[in-house]
């Protein structure tokens, strides 16, 4: 793998050859020199794009009007290629299509360096790149799609007209939204079933003699699988070459900065250890805890007990807001002892699991507090459990009652009912994190939360920030906060962006004076 920024010979290729399609599989790494400035700018902007892809994907139904609108806006403001022809008129003073494609190419490879190191990073990167690819491929015209397939050696055989005719009825009944006419008109591809597993698994395709008969518009699923496999392999290879990159002092700090811009927010680094006292917890639970944790805390206080799922979710959250191991032990013991568990039994049975959470037992993994995605998607609660996401796992009626009871600020009574309705609408649409964000706005009496919620500890931190709470939020968090900002707010003109980037560059330049 060759890295930009090192002295490598430039391969002179004509503009048109290198980037002849607005979409690519990123098979070949870039082979040119670029400045460190470009290196960082490109990387940061792609990261912003990927984060937007993630946020917008969570906030809006994929491919809905709003989704498309928001994502398109991101593409233009960040100057990434979308669907234009190479020869298109250059917008006055803007970036040419060629330049956009070059940026797309280079930035992807830089981020590979930053995101190949751990399983989590890789998974996140692959997921966002796939969503990005899926969106861009979907926006291509039919002709461009076919072009892309051919250029990338995806030689999927098209089904002959005769065969289509003989299989017409079967084709119609096996793929959604097809009719006799469309079967005749559309191209169908014959793909070995092993390359179309998602469609096979859900029985959304016609299978005959080991081949899947894929209509043209479904070919994206196949292509995506291919994309994922290639990228996964590439990342594994990149990880192996990483030591060579990391030895380059100019690149190392940049790359770790980039990956922390995402990873730093998993709250595994306890920035505020010991800054909370146990007495504060009750008050904090009402003011700054997200609904899920407030719910867990209340259940714990009432029943003097929580089951495993609840202990994990809540216990790790408490660790994330700054409880030390000793505090945690004291907290859990004092509560459990009020119930059916005596001190002895607590020490024997439950203390171990608390210590385990802090990485002091077993394989000593320091467990990270659960993100919203994790809470929503894994381990749904059953009878007697209080964990999970109330917006996802509670019955809407119960949720409504709970929300009415929990409303904090008295001045917002007029706002309460419409807000509640909004929240329930979001829940119905499965936008649980957005619903929680609305809950934040409701309880803190603000119009806009100012952040895109994806972690319970983030909720707490933001809440404390807003309330000017007694905890010092370290400055390091700021850089990553910026990249997490609500995309709706990212309509700052690009000049401001580059000015900001320039300022950062300024610092970096002085950092690398011995260059």
């Amino acid at each position: 793998m060759q890295f930009p920024g090192r002295r490598k010979k430039v391969i002179g290729s004509s503009q048109n050859d290198l980037y002849d399609h607005c979409l690519q599989f990123y098979g070949q790494p870039p082979l040119e020199n670029i400045s460190l400035t470009e290196f960082e700018t490109f990387a940061v902007e792609r990261l912003k794009l990927l984060k937007s892809v993630e946020n917008i994907g969570v906030s809006y139904v994929k491919n809905s009007e709003q989704y498309v609108k928001k994502l398109d806006a991101e593409f233009s403001s960040l100057n990434f290629p979308l669907r234009t022809e190479l020869g298109d008129r250059r917008v006055q003073g803007g970036t040419s299509e060629y330049e956009k494609r070059r940026k797309d190419h280079i930035s992807h490879f830089i981020l590979r360096l930053a995101y190949c190191q751990t399983e989590d990073l890789r998974r996140w990167f692959i997921q966002q790149e796939m969503d990005l690819f899926r969106y861009r491929f979907g926006e291509l015209t039919s002709k461009h799609k076919t072009d892309f397939l051919h250029k990338n050696n995806l030689k999927y055989e098209t089904v002959s007209a005769e065969e289509k005719k003989s299989l017409k009825d079967k084709l119609i009944t096996s793929s959604y939204g097809l009719s006799g006419i469309t079967v005749e008109e559309y191209d169908f591809y014959k793909v070995p079933f092993q390359d179309a597993l998602d469609l096979v698994r859900t029985r959304k395709v016609y299978l005959l003699a080991g081949n899947a008969y894929i209509p043209h518009h479904e070919i994206v699923t196949i292509v995506l699988n291919d994309f994922r496999t290639r990228l996964s392999k590439a990342l594994a290879m990149t990880a192996r070459s990483l030591p060579a990159v990391q030895s380059d002092e100019r690149l190392q700090p940049l790359l770790s900065h980039l990956s922390h811009a995402y990873v730093g927010q998993d709250y595994s680094i306890q920035k505020n250890m010991g800054k909370i006292s146990l007495e504060q917890i009750d008050a904090l639970s009402g003011k700054s805890f997200p609904l899920c944790m407030r719910h867990l805390h209340k259940a714990l206080r009432e029943n003097h007990h929580l089951r495993h799922g609840g202990r994990m979710q809540y216990g790790l959250f408490l660790k994330g807001i700054g409880l030390t191991l000793d505090q945690a032990l004291q907290f859990w013991r004092s509560e459990f002892v009020k119930g059916k568990v005596d001190a002895d039994k607590f020490d024997k049975a439950y203390a171990y699991s608390v210590r385990h959470m802090f990485g002091k037992e077993g394989k000593r993994t320091d467990y990270t507090p659960y993100s919203c995605m994790k809470v929503i998607l894994s381990n749904p609660p059953s009878q007697g459990d209080y964990h999970g996401c109330p917006f996802r796992h509670s019955d809407p009626e119960l949720l409504k009652q709970k929300l009415q009871n929990y409303k904090v600020s008295p001045s917002g009574i007029n706002q309460l009912l419409p807000m509640l309705a909004e929240i329930l609408e979001l829940v119905k649409g499965m936008h649980y994190q957005l619903a929680c964000q609305k809950y934040f706005e409701l309880t803190h009496n603000v119009e806009d939360a100012g952040f895109s919620l994806n972690h319970p500890n983030q909720y707490f931190t933001e809440s404390q920030k807003l309330l000017g709470g007694g905890l010092e939020i370290k400055k390091e968090v700021d850089m990553s906060q910026r990249s997490q900002e609500n995309p709706a707010n990212m309509t700052r003109p690009s000049q401001a962006n580059s000015k900001q980037a320039h300022e950062e560059m300024g610092d970096l330049d002085s950092f690398f004076q011995d260059e």
Partner: protein
């Protein structure tokens, strides 16, 4: 009486005899070697044995057919499972650097177990089976066999009676053995229609359009439904069971004509259903038939490349029955209760030998090993095991023919290439003049 009284306590005496004189080792070895196309395919295959007193040993592997025989005769396993072909010899897996010992290939397998149908069969439950519910296996085999061949393009399927309450399918094609975990799970899910556990009442949900695969499966079910469900299982025979059937409908009201005659036809003409539901309920008759009859397979068995499955020709310790291959040409007359038990075939061995056998005795004197094998072949031929080994032989023949066809094709291609090559050279030399 086709099955001797089998007593598990006799296993310690019967098994050694079975492994010495009846187990079809040469066919077994032939199967698992797959023509010797891949190097060390047999040597890197994992077997697991369950020995007396439930001692379970994994990572058994053997270098030759002879070694396999000797070990099995020595260890006398009560159960034999076949696992994957690994990257190294399983018996040496501890000596391999951690992480490099990996399962590479295995047949694609399916396990249909009668207990998974307990909620829809009235005649038996748990490990019991009878002729009335055995039809479920027949239906399962027909549906899956068709789908695996026609939809997925597989050719070499071995269906085996598990020995007690189900059947297994071993898909042995090259392509099948090389499938990834994701692919196996996708195939299993494609083939799954009945979903849900205890709490799910309506386990089959059909919506437009109905996929050709479902239609094919339905036509198989419909062929058997009248006899199986209405007559044998008598699902409309009592109010209780009718209620159970109707509980699956997503409808609000229904009424049932009391006092009608016993036989109901496929379309529940005696039952009128008022459907108030917005969608669904239009295919309720199909859904009911599928819920009662469609094959229920355990996806987990099929998913794993390293999953171990009971070996054909192993003995079922509880019933004594041999896991025999099923001849699909005689599927409708297959009777699990006619499958020979180990006690039966051992008994048959003791019967006085036919005269032709004496001729072979002469030939034996010449070559010991061959003699042993020939004797063994004669031996099983005298027992009820014979016809099942024949099914296995045919299966192996078909694979061998197909391999030969592949090789011819490949060498034909190479030939074509080399001919072209020669033309090029000629063209060049001619040009140079």
């Amino acid at each position: 009486m086709s099955t001797s009284d089998y007593d598990p306590a006799c296993l310690p005496d019967l098994l050694p005899l079975y492994y010495r004189r009846l187990f079809p080792f040469s066919q077994y070895y032939r199967w698992l070697s797959y023509g010797g196309v891949s190097k060390n395919y047999f040597q890197n295959r994992e077997f697991s044995f369950t020995l007396k007193d439930d001692i379970y040993v994994r990572y058994q592997s053997f270098t030759t057919q002879n070694e396999l025989e000797k070990e099995m005769q020595k260890m006398v396993p009560y159960k034999i499972d076949i696992g994957a072909v690994y990257s190294h010899r399983p018996s040496q897996h501890n000596a391999v650097k951690s992480g490099t010992f990996q399962a590479l290939e295995k047949e694609l397998v399916f396990d249909i177990d009668m207990t998974d149908y307990d909620d829809v069969r009235r005649c038996c439950s748990a490990a019991d089976i009878c002729s009335k519910c055995w039809t479920l296996m027949t239906i399962a085999i027909r549906i899956l066999d068709r789908a695996l061949r026609e939809d997925f393009g597989f050719h070499h399927l071995l269906w085996v009676y598990s020995g007690r309450r189900g059947v297994h399918c071993w898909v042995c094609d090259d392509a099948a053995r090389k499938l990834s975990v994701a692919a196996r799970s996708a195939v299993a899910e494609y083939l799954s229609l009945v979903k849900g556990g205890e709490e799910t009442v309506r386990k089959v949900v059909l919506s437009d359009p109905i996929h050709p695969f479902i239609n094919h499966s339905l036509s198989v079910v419909e062929r058997y439904f009248q006899q199986y469900a209405i007559v044998d299982q008598d699902i409309l025979g009592s109010k209780e069971s009718v209620d159970k059937v109707l509980a699956v409908f997503p409808v609000d009201r229904y009424f049932f004509k009391e006092g009608s005659s016993v036989s109901y036809d496929l379309h529940f003409s005696c039952v009128s259903v008022k459907s108030n539901s917005k969608k669904g309920g239009q295919y309720f008759d199909k859904e009911i038939m599928l819920q009662y009859c469609y094959p229920r397979l355990d996806v987990n068995v099929s998913k794993g490349v390293n999953h171990l499955l009971k070996s054909p020709f192993s003995v079922h310790p509880k019933t004594g029955r041999i896991s025999v291959p099923i001849d699909l040409k005689e599927l409708d007359t297959f009777d699990p209760f006619e499958v020979p038990t180990i006690s039966l075939i051992c008994e048959e061995l003791e019967k006085p030998r036919a005269e032709e056998a004496e001729e072979d005795d002469m030939k034996d004197k010449e070559n010991e090993q061959e003699a042993g094998e020939r004797r063994r072949i004669r031996d099983y031929k005298r027992t009820s095991l014979a016809k099942y080994v024949k099914v296995f032989d045919r299966f192996l023949e078909a694979m061998a023919r197909s391999r030969k066809g592949e090789m011819l094709k490949k060498s034909g291609e190479i030939e074509k290439d080399s001919v072209f090559h020669i033309h090029l050279i000629l063209a060049f030399t001619l040009q140079m003049d």
